[in-house]
């Protein structure tokens, strides 16, 4: 059995959970995989931090929580501090360019930086930051086929915002692919 443990963290209002749901949905509904998503929240966390624990696997998932993170996406400094310790050696780390400073660094991670804020501003709606990140993650992780993720995006956003979000998703994917290519080239 192959199992990938993913953590996505940020602060409330960034749509962190939705990005987890899209990836989960892409995997579980459109890619023939299994996916289990749990959101961590509590009254104390209100409005501050927010995170999703996502497991993607080719077999039914038994233990539902993420313990050793294979892939970590962080959109806030707080999330960076809290979640990097659990990242496995050689794990995938995606950090947002403007919101996260990579200190202390995580030496053995496969690290990508998503300029989600900037891209979102280019697209004109700050709110699509999370969808850009999903696209970017899809590209650099290569965990789930593009089409599966794209279908999931379609099903997960309000109909009126579909175009906007698809643009955001594709942009993120594109930028992700570029970076992946760079890294692979340099490898």
């Amino acid at each position: 059995m192959t199992q990938t443990q993913i953590r996505i963290g940020g602060f409330g209002g960034q749509g962190v959970i939705l990005s987890g749901i899209i990836i989960g949905r892409g995997a579980a509904i459109h890619a023939g995989l299994h996916a289990t998503l749990i959101q961590s929240f509590g009254p104390e966390a209100r409005g501050s931090s927010s995170s999703a624990e996502l497991i993607v696997a080719d077999e039914p998932i038994l233990y539902p929580y993420v313990k050793d993170v294979d892939m970590l996406v962080v959109l806030s400094q707080d999330a960076y501090a809290r979640f990097t310790p659990a990242l496995k050696k050689g794990g995938l780390l995606v950090t947002e360019a403007d919101l996260v400073s990579v200190t202390p660094p995580v030496p053995e991670a496969r690290h990508f930086v998503v300029p989600a804020t900037r891209l979102a501003e280019e697209i004109g709606r700050k709110i699509v930051l999370n969808i850009i990140t999903v696209g970017f993650f899809g590209a650099v992780s290569q965990l789930i086929p593009l089409e599966a993720l794209e279908k999931a995006v379609k099903e997960s956003v309000p109909p009126g915002t579909l175009d906007l979000n698809l643009r955001a998703f594709r942009k993120g994917y594109e930028v992700g692919l570029e970076q992946l290519a760079k890294v692979q080239a340099s490898a």
Binding site: F11, S48, S76, Q77, D78
Partner: protein, 69 residues
């Protein structure tokens, strides 16, 4: 009578109520961030403060107060 206003920025969540409801426009939101990522108020017209403590009563986060001297 003059007043003093005290800001406890680390508690501030940047709601701007103090700024808006200070009767003498002593405050403005700063462009700096707290470690939690909020913009706290800063004192822009200290001399205008009457120490009325309205900012103190408005603040939902016990992050500011005024007093008379």
């Amino acid at each position: 009578m003059r007043g003093v206003v005290v800001i406890h920025a680390e508690r501030c969540k940047g709601c701007a109520l103090c700024v808006e409801f200070c009767p003498t426009d002593v405050l403005a939101l700063s462009s700096s961030f707290t470690t939690k990522g909020y913009h706290p108020p800063e004192i822009v017209r200290p001399e205008a403060c009457s120490g009325c403590d309205l900012c103190g009563m408005y603040c939902p986060d016990f992050a500011i107060y005024g007093y008379r001297v």
